[in-house]
Amino acid sequence: MSIFKIQIKAGTPAVFDPNPLTAYPNDSVYWSNDDTVAHWPAPSAANPTGWLDYQIAPDSESSQISLDPPAPYTLNYICVLHPSETGQIKVVPVKSKTKKGPYGGKTKKGAFGRKTKKGAFGGKTKKGAYGGNTKKGPYGSYTK
């Protein structure tokens, strides 16, 4: 759930930066207009309010859009007011180091890797979370 800014930089044509923007499913994006004229990112000229209800006035910012799964996909957009200004948002899947699912692969070894087999804090777990003392209960009945 990151949130990314795309700057609209003045020029002829004005440019979107970064372009393309790479994001992940469920991330959010908005545009900040640094130009002295208005701009209006939209999925197509025929659908100006597809993403933003209003043009972005100079020196101001847009509302946000969020990116639904499933990834990957690419969103192409244009500026309704200046159709030669185009941009792309690439939505890519989040990579996972938990290949067999949230608890598969490496996670099976524990959230902290191999060490968890011995216990998150080393071999002591086999004796009890806090070493041999826990069996006796370091504070007697308090640990029961």
């Binding site: 959010s28 209003y54 990116l67 938990t98």
Partner: protein, 726 residues
Amino acid sequence: MLEETIVKDQTGEEDRNELSNVKQGAEVTRRNFLQYAIAATSGLAITSMLPPFALKTWAQQVAAPCPPGKPLQTIMEITSSSSTKTLQAVLKILDEKRTYLAPPNDGAAGVCVPNTGQMRYIAGYDPATPGKMWPTTTGVPSPAPTLRARVGDRVQITLLNHVNVKNFPGTLDVAENGQACDQNKSVGPGGTSVNTYPGDPSFEKPPNCFHGSSSTNLHFHGSHVSPSGISDNVLLNIRPAPRGTDGKPTVNEQNVKPIFDQIFKACASGKQPLLWTDWPPAWQEWQKKLLIAYDKTAPWKGQPGTLPHDQQLWVQNVNEMAHNQLPQYYIGAFPNCFNIPVWNGQKTSMGQAPGTHWYHGHKHGSTALNLANGMAGALIIEGDYDDKLNPFITKQRVLVLQQIGAVLPLLRSATGQKAFNTDLVYVNGQYTPVMQMNPNEMQLWRIVNACHQAAVPLDQPTGLKWVQTAQDGVQFDPSNYNPALTNAAFKVPAQSTPPFGSLAPGNRIDLLVLAPSTPGPYKVTFGGKLLFTVNVAQDTAVTPIASPMPFPTQAQFPAMPGFLADISFGDVKIRRELRFKSTADPTVAPAMGRGTNAPFPPPVHTIDGKQFDEGTIDHTMHLGATEEWTMYNDGGAAHPFHIHINPFQVVEIFDPAKSPNPVKLPRPWVWWDNFAIPKGGYFKMLTRFVDFTGMYVLHCHILGHEDRGMMQLVQVISNTTTMEHR
């Protein structure tokens, strides 16, 4: 020396903003950051100096096992001067790109995904030492600096709003961009979209929706001070300062100082501005100019120019002046000031309870996001409580718990909202950090739940021994403190039971904590989840403690201040009932908490059947009145009820999940200022509206509920007059 000078010069956020498009990680200290900046500005080839992440404009997100915690950081404290008895602080609302850990979309436990986003935060320093600024790291979450004063001290805070509005989606005040509420359209493959917030047609009604998140004010939660003027006044709205041609805020600590010094001087003698004309003329003139300039330039429906008359801030200020009220809107800065009251010994009065309090942004419509961004800090008020307990401990620990996120759940994509309520809980800006304690050492932990929505019901510890000493910044009566109850469930109602207990959002607890004799790691968990780890290991720099430090006995425990004696039922003249309710859309899908059909309406949160109405005072109380309130929960979460200014005593609880009958609580009753109303049940409390007249609020401390309408306006009025009628 050079570095010292640089740090001193870098108290502004401007540099952070300018450089914040560089990816920053937790390991980037402020010092390193400045070194990079020096190189950049001096024209050096910096590629070889930059950490690897800074070389990429885009860093790949990887869902991986959550990293092990790092050593717990201590939040910098700004303390009152022992000579002037005054706490002076400059607090700046800044913003920067921050990286934080979030749960994966499937919610898998133990898996973390690094997220990034521009986030607002509170930086601060003591004006006596301007080079010593908090936070000391960049690019990662952090709470605001801890403020520490003593009962009887003065508090003088220069609040500066230096948020760069261009770093956030449009979210400014009254309908800027033509949108009263923040907006989110969920876009999927192919580019088609659904308006998921506030819906089309909108399921939200301004002002009860997320909006204006770059504007703010400060609430001093737990303080017993005036709700008016420049004290604990949450009806204010401080907009970000405009920026000059150099890109820097035009309102800053240097140019407000001469004016604020006048205001603070008057405040020290008990004078508060209550009317526009009470402000120094220079402040009136400056603020009027800034507000009118804003009204003439703010975009409206995408067009720059003059806002419609009814949306203009200066017009609203003029309207309030006409009604003899202190205008609400200011730009760039505000002087917060109050004197921490000492009890005068009268039964009709209270003093400030010394204890663990906190402060945070409290502008309606933006409290949730501001706290999710991290805009909260501890406010420690010392007194006899500390004097009596300090001899039994080696140190006090301030632990600020925050649920960190750059985007609120309701503004995420429809799918992203499945992660609702699962944002991770940080401790002092760190996820699952490791606290060091020496064997046999006793500490006082002051824990603040500054999460915007998460309860943190602590589990019974193993190895560590702890005893609760205070709730919500008010010490226990000595008879409620019992060292023999170490680690036992806290005495009702100060108990920690999921889903809400003594650490619902907004609650604070103090614990005396004894480390075991045996070195090793000891986990502190809530609901089975790791909050942080205590690593018991001898610090070789200090003398080992041969045997467990003793808990104070009941006789050694600080005596209850006189004003915190139990309220008497016999003094009650007025009884009120308030009913909190969340009403879900009929198509609600429990996993999402929202309707299943576009625009996926979320539940509506009401008190007494209606949302916050900014034109209505819901309850009016006489100054000095003792009242009995019963707070019902007719549906939804265990809404944490919070009322400003005066604490209350919970005397009866009905929680149908635990008992078929209401439970009358034994005396002496515990004081609270925030209490989770059991689902389907109620709690009954006694309170007194003493010392301060004025207008303030009560609300649910799940702040997304508050922002969206679960709030009421209350007013305390005097029942005395100078009129004669003979």
